[in-house]
Symmetry: C2
Subunit: 593 residues, 2 copies
């Protein structure tokens, strides 16, 4: 099966790259990469599904999850040309369930992305592809910055980190408010959505074209090596409203590609190029645009706005601290960008590597690491990371990474008791009972329990999808009996069983069939993960996260005649903090105390 | 508790760095880092243990494991000045149980190592510390190599990877044989150990000083920028036995520090510097030395010998393919080193980052990634990684990363049946029974089961260490009764309970006390991880790995009066492939079939 995996990954990666020609929108790229990977895993969208057998091999939860992780890392890699950064991003932020095989698989995906990118850049060298590939494999190359810092420079570095952490968490706070507002607006219908997007885009255009008028023209450096002034799509020193021989520094930052803006603001040995007012306007504008653009119905990312904001903040700080330090302003801009990202996204290793791969300056590494750690620590003391905030707002059933302390005070037994009683099926069940259970519940899995004389036996867990498959194939028995292995093999193959399709409403069953039986034993997962009812919810959550569970059976701690062998069943949804607190309000009170 | 953690890490990291002045011995450094971290976790060695309270906070399994991981990553960081590489090394190779908090903790450790290293290098700039710090933070800097490769160069890159993978797995195979031989020799006593080390060191010295005579002298390049010939401790173009104006290329590689040797062999635009015979001799010698040095009683690493071997192999391949490619020979050397390492150690992401941090050439990244992936894949098809081979030889109770396919055919119930019957304790147990159980078994944990009328209740798991603590503190009851919470709190605090010390033989108990009772309930872990007896061993192994288990209770799938609530108990040791095969020889047969 592994040789297929490689083939799939190549497809996924190429797709991610070909979609990734416009750089700097890491959000859509990660999204596109993941979507393509997921679609490939399913064989295509629902209506136009490819039915190739070898695609169906991946149609199971684990492989789909792996493919999505690979797709996300390919997306980051394509956006930043940062292959190792992409792997680490997937590791640190995307994957909730990690296994060592995934490490080299994501690594393989990003390697392929890089090879394909490299190929495109080579083809595009002739200039046929617009601005694509202009930066080569390293986007914001600052390797020529001569770094000259000493141990004493830890002080300014710490200040950058602390302020960056505060600003980052403030950004998270404000974005949360804005997104909640947008949620209300977007719920009102399509027109509202469209109007919102239009308003923001008009505001963006107006600001970008009017704000540069506020800036004072500056004289070009007659000895500079670059053209000045220019009016090209890319390039430095935009002329805008200035006379010949002068340039507008704010237009240089605003009326260019985002890449060039970052390159300009990261540039070193240019202490006079940007005025304080221009940087302040740029910073304020990007704060506003970053906050108000993210939630509207357009594909946009988080990385680049934050990098731009952060670099402006860093440069401003550099100017403010000018006399106390000998670190270059361009370096301040790089560190400012890193600190704001860590303050908002709370990643460490992956951001560090992405920055390394973006800037190609290994000597920056020690101070970047310090800035990231400080900013993350400061930010963590205020609010959760921006990704957690967005997940929470979207209401996705995402299990929290760490159990809350109050979860230790409640057992899975209590949680199960608060739910409706568990619905179990017998090992050999009547068809009518199965149809009844499927129609009247929405559960995705049911415990199978055999009742004997004076004893009960837990057989395992059967999935809704398998029950539907049984009904569809009409694999019914006239009498109540156990089946033989060959009977099962004849009817089902494992590729079918890995699929998760179909609804009970689609199945038509005659009255006569309703009285027949089904032997569920061969389709039962005989080894579900179980927990004794006295286990704390905190511990159960660790189990869910670590082994990637969907269902967990809760078994009693008593052994006696008449005790059911399974007390209940828990899902990811049941373990989410919000849902527990709804069922147990007193825990919320004890939490707030 | 987290603020303490930081303090500890700084200590651990500084210690690792200060021990890490001699570069290139990553083995000892990783070891030293881990040892110091482990000792700090325990508060010091057994005899001179620090009793500071805040140190004792870390005296529990999880924190000790985390500290050791941090120590190992600090060691790699100190050895290669590769902070991110160190983190990833710990992630990919060291840690069997990973959690997200560990990611930034290891990252923090390596950041501190880097700052301290940087400080030492600054202090040592004056030349007072010998050769330390000469390379700066980047050891084998090849950032000046102008990389000029095209998509067509994938062919030679693939060849490097394939041959590297074959050579790497061959190296693993041979090292396995040598280590088994050494195990036999070392078991014979200290004198044998000493003699073995002496022999190898004499052989090493003799080879290093005699082999250069086999090489032909070469004329110095009169227009070269470097001194030639030299006779210094470091530096290029060693004169050795040659007349003035000539140098001996083999002496240049052998009679210098390992760092300089790597730098020489990685150097680019020097196609004429090394002769084929010299490279062949160098490669053969380092193969032999690498194989025969690793297992003797000296601290030595795996990385640098393999880098040296690999770079010689790469350069040789470069010379052989000279006319078919336009890749520089120095680049071939770098890629050869990478391929041999991946072929032997089977790491991908961490090796990639370590190489990036060693060589400071981001443009190398795409081809390094490809070489690593190809070499790893080729190597994996022959034998396991060198680390797994060594772990296996050392007989450490290390749970395999992936379950073998035949483990799916056996259930934990069968495994438990093959063991001696489980020893359980009652919730309120007689002292004599506890002493009896502790003296006659070596188990580290016992299930606690209460027997009622017609029903039994699983209370949980109690640890040997806690039982011993109870006996030591003589926390006995005159009558058979349950205790109150305050009674327990009065007697035990959680720091004590986290310790794992003491032997039952050290406890003296009078005859009268033997007849008294202990209430085990308050000290019982009421929520042990459990598995139903029908769970397959493969699945149980995943559980052990993913949640870092030591003991797992096996519960029956039947519910009836008289059925014990726990069928048995499994440990990591029980789940090791070797031990299962000993108990179930037929599985080994079916495996070989």
């Amino acid at each position: 099966m592994h040789h297929f995996f490689g083939a799939i990954q190549i497809f996924g990666s190429i797709a991610a790259v070909s979609a990734g020609l416009d750089l700097g929108k890491e959000g859509p790229l990660v999204h596109i990469g993941s979507c393509i990977a997921s679609l490939l895993g399913q064989g295509g969208p629902d209506n136009y599904r490819l039915k190739w057998l070898w695609l169906r091999y991946f149609n199971n939860d684990r492989d789909r999850r792996d493919l999505i992780t690979c797709g996300a890392s390919s997306g980051v890699c394509a956006a930043f040309r940062a292959p190792v950064g992409g792997v680490l991003f997937a590791l640190e932020e995307v994957a909730t369930w990690w296994r060592s095989a995934l490490l080299w698989r994501t690594f393989f995906s990003t390697a392929i992305v890089l090879v394909v990118l490299r190929g495109f850049i080579e083809i595009c060298n002739s200039g046929k592809c617009g601005l694509f590939g202009k930066g080569g494999l390293i986007i914001f190359d600052v390797s020529d910055v001569t770094l000259n810092y000493h141990l004493i420079d830890i002080v300014p570095v710490t200040i950058i980190g602390i302020i960056g952490g505060v600003l980052g968490s403030l950004y998270n706070y404000l974005l949360h408010k804005v997104l909640r507002l947008y949620n209300l607006i977007n719920q009102k219908g399509r027109m509202h959505k469209l109007l919102l997007s239009l308003t923001v885009s008009v505001f963006t255009s107006v600001s970008l074209f009017s704000l540069p008028f506020l800036s004072r023209c500056q004289a070009c450096d007659p000895y500079g090596s670059e053209f000045c002034p220019t009016n090209d799509r890319s390039g430095n020193f935009k002329q805008f409203n200035c006379p010949d021989g002068y340039f507008n520094d704010l237009a240089t930052l605003l009326l260019t590609t985002n890449d060039d803006a970052v390159r300009n603001i990261f540039s070193s040995n240019t202490p006079k190029e940007f005025q304080i007012t221009s940087l302040l306007i740029f910073f304020a504008l990007y704060c506003i645009l970053g906050l108000f653009t993210f939630g509207i119905a357009v594909p946009s990312g988080l990385f680049l706005p934050i990098i731009l904001m952060g670099s402006a903040y860093g440069r401003l700080l550099g100017i403010a601290m000018g006399s106390y330090t000998n670190i270059d302003q361009g370096l301040y801009a790089v560190l400012g960008a890193a600190s704001l990202m860590a303050g908002s996204m709370r990643m460490t290793v992956s951001l560090c590597v992405i920055f390394l791969e973006l800037t190609n300056n290994l000597l920056l590494l020690p101070i970047t690491m310090l800035v990231l750690l400080i900013a993350k620590t400061v930010g963590d003391s205020f609010n959760p990371s921006i990704y957690e905030i967005i997940l929470e707002l979207k209401g996705l059933p995402f299990l929290e990474a760490n159990p809350e302390p109050w979860m230790r005070n409640i057992t899975v037994g209590e949680l199960v008791d608060a739910k409706p009683p568990v619905v179990t099926l017998s090992g050999v069940a009547k068809v009518s009972r199965i149809v009844d259970v499927l129609k009247n519940t929405t559960h995705n899995a049911f415990p199978v329990v055999d009742n004997g004389v004076g004893e009960t036996e837990l057989q395992g867990l059967i999935l809704r999808a398998h029950l539907i498959k049984v009904l569809k194939k009409k694999w019914f028995l006239q009498e109540k009996r156990r089946t033989e292995e060959w009977e099962v093999r004849e009817k089902f193959d494992w590729v079918e069983l890995a699929e998760r399709e179909g609804k009970v409403e689609e199945v038509v069953i005659s009255r006569g069939e309703m009285e027949m039986y089904v032997d569920l034993h061969p389709l039962t997962n005989t080894t579900p993960y179980t927990a004794v009812e006295s286990m704390s919810v905190a511990k159960a959550m660790v189990l869910f996260r670590q082994v990637g569970l969907r269902h967990m059976l809760v078994v009693p701690k008593y052994q006696a005649a008449g005790v059911p062998p399974v007390v209940g069943i828990l899902t990811r949804q049941d373990l989410r903090a919000h849902n527990i607190l709804t069922a147990f309000p007193h825990l919320a009170r004890s939490k707030s105390r």
